[in-house]
């Protein structure tokens, strides 16, 4: 009789006691997540004096909620800025996340299923030529010319010296090189990136922001997708290959559908990263393409932080992401792969 309480019906269903304990832990964590958010919501309905005169917890009981902050952000003085930055965020973030996902997933697949042997000689020649072109540009040569010269030097050296050094790197080294692109703190790379886009006349455009975001998030996509793709049984691809499917077809109709849980999870937080990115957006946009995080930081005015406005903006910002997360969450579920293997 007692035993039933500790026994689970199927593998995946916990025993009644286990279920209660699970709910308890989940409930505690949910409270820890939701309480700060609750505080954010109540703050957004407060006015300056209600925030400054000590903690008030429950609207209508402790304090009289006011819509001042919401009005200020949505229909008042700040509404034009909010709307513009909101639109910008909605354009830039999903576009960058989607592009990063496409390029990253193909590269991850390539790193798992193909073998690359980049030669050490070729890599060093390339680095040398890059430094050469930068030096030439800094000494006043037009960048188009210096680029052409270094490209020519690179090809010549590659055919001669580059072939001598036979030692080659492998896929893991490529992957490590890719993830190492995220190691420099943004504060160190932001000025060079600014200069690049200034030279290309792309400052304050969507293109600049999207290119930067895609590039900076590619390594994460690649590393995560590599693991998910490794777990897909290779037998399926071999069968398709015997049936005459091309690599592209195999990737498109076998690998991608099977990697959906991974793809969705990865998309979600690349979206989140780009949605919330602050420093690069600060530098690459002056007015036209500012994103919402900049609006939030701008609420820390000379009069001190405008908590109520900030709260409203933070809340406005997370709503679209929550909606997307709720829509996509169902795809992160078990069983997609199992069906495929059996079928």
């Amino acid at each position: 009789m007692m035993k039933r309480w500790f026994q689970s019906k199927t593998i995946n269903t916990p025993s009644p006691v286990g279920a209660i304990l699970s709910y308890l832990v989940l409930g505690i964590w949910a409270f820890l997540i939701l309480f700060p958010l609750y505080w954010l919501v109540t703050t957004s309905f407060k006015i300056s004096s209600q925030v400054n005169e000590g903690p008030f917890y429950i609207p209508f009981v402790d304090f009289k909620p006011s819509l001042d902050a919401w009005k200020y952000i949505l229909v008042g003085d700040l509404s034009k800025d909010t709307l513009r930055n909101f639109t910008n965020t909605i354009i830039v973030a999903p576009a960058s996340a989607l592009l990063a996902l496409i390029f990253g997933a193909t590269a991850a697949y390539a790193l798992v299923r193909f073998e690359y042997r980049p030669r050490v000689g070729a890599i060093f020649t390339f680095i040398g030529c890059t430094i050469l072109s930068i030096l030439m540009t800094s000494f006043g040569v037009m960048w188009q010319i210096s680029l052409a010269i270094s490209a020519a030097v690179f090809i010549i050296l590659l055919q001669t010296i580059g072939r001598r050094f036979k030692r080659a790197l492998g896929n893991n080294d490529i992957a490590f090189w890719m993830i190492s692109q995220r190691m420099l703190p943004p504060i160190a790379v932001v000025i060079p990136i600014y200069i690049i886009f200034q030279r290309l006349h792309l400052l304050d455009t969507y293109t600049a922001l999207i290119i930067t975001y895609v590039t900076s998030n590619l390594p994460i996509v690649i590393w995560l997708m590599r693991d998910y793709i490794t777990n897909i049984p290779i037998e399926l691809e071999e069968c398709a290959s015997i049936d005459g499917a091309s690599r592209y077809r195999i990737f498109w109709s076998i690998v991608l559908p099977l990697a959906v849980p991974g793809l969705v999870a990865t998309f979600l937080f690349v979206l989140v990263f780009t949605w919330n990115e602050y420093l690069l957006a600060l530098f690459l946009s002056s007015a036209k393409i500012q994103t919402l995080p900049l609006t939030i930081a701008a609420q820390n005015a000379t009069r001190g932080p405008q908590w109520w406005n900030m709260s409203v903006l933070i809340l406005i910002m997370i709503v679209p992401v929550i909606v997307i997360a709720i829509i996509l969450e169902r795809y992160i579920t078990r069983g997609l792969l199992i069906g495929a293997v059996k079928g």
Partner: protein
Amino acid sequence: MDTENEEPQPFRLHTIISSAADRLAGSIFILPTVLALLFLSIFPLIASLYLSLAKFDIAPGGFKFTFVGLRNYKKLFTGSEGTHFLGDFAPSTSLTWIVFGLVIIALAIFLARYFLSSNVSIGGLIGRILLTLGLGMLTWMLIHTLWNGGRLGTASTTLVYVFVGIFFQYILGLGLAMLTVQNLPGRRFFRVIFLLPMMITPVGVAYMFRMLTDTSKGPFTPIWQGLGLTDFSWVNNAWGARTAILIGDIWQWTPFMFIVLVAALESQSVEPVEAATVDGANSWQIFQHITWPAILPVSMTLILIRLIEAFKIVDLPNVMTNGGPGTATQSLTYHAYINWRALDLGSSAAVAYMLLFLVTFFSMIFVNLIRHRTVEAL
């Protein structure tokens, strides 16, 4: 070749093109990524390396860079920025020597075991010697700055943030992921709730935690008062402030661990678990022998990514404490940011490069660990 001549295939051109395309698939799949990364990575890397070796000055009509060699780095280690970067070292006592000695012995054993193993290569040897030296120096720094009388520099503080933060994030993320892949009614509700902190912009989270941790206006004020801690302000206590920042960091980034681990657990196949249950394995055995090996690769990647990201922590200390009290909560990125704001671009880039060395050092260790593990598993 002959068979092809005997039976000419229809759409021959098409076949040639598609087979050529198929052979090139390897390059086509990876090239866009490589080019994109080259485009936006090599130039910034070289440019900031140059910056770290130069002095930035406002000059009439703009600005100029003067090459100063390694002076910026020298300043970080022995010069005016020394205590800021490395911290104050407590005088060595017999106890610190014992702790340090133990670490050195462990490292020596590690090296000796490699020497005695059958496959010693030059690359492997250099790598291991560098590893030993690096870990030795870091231990020396951590012991003496964490000890009574020492004070943490930005380097030690960053290491504390990174390792304590990631430890809790991973444990919490894994635990919660295991709970929500069970067949519980309402698990989807919990999953979406648990994702929320990650969705808030880091600047926003930082401001939110500044509201929450306020001891006179924040929601926990009655608790502080009840404990008789009204005069105590965590802002004025070094470890209090660091703990507050760590809590914010853990709050925000546990969801990242959580959602990836959920996806990993969900894409695991059920059959081995079923088989093990039939054979009478208990749930700990199932976790240890089936679930854990299956999620290990993803976990390693996850920790590596978080390692790299966590080293760059800046919003929380900047907004919550302004780096204070003193420089107690400043991270390396924040250190670089302060120098940058003071228009000392050279030493800012030097700090950034030291951060790059640290991250590369730990990532290399970690990646080699992954390879080792995966080879063992095979």
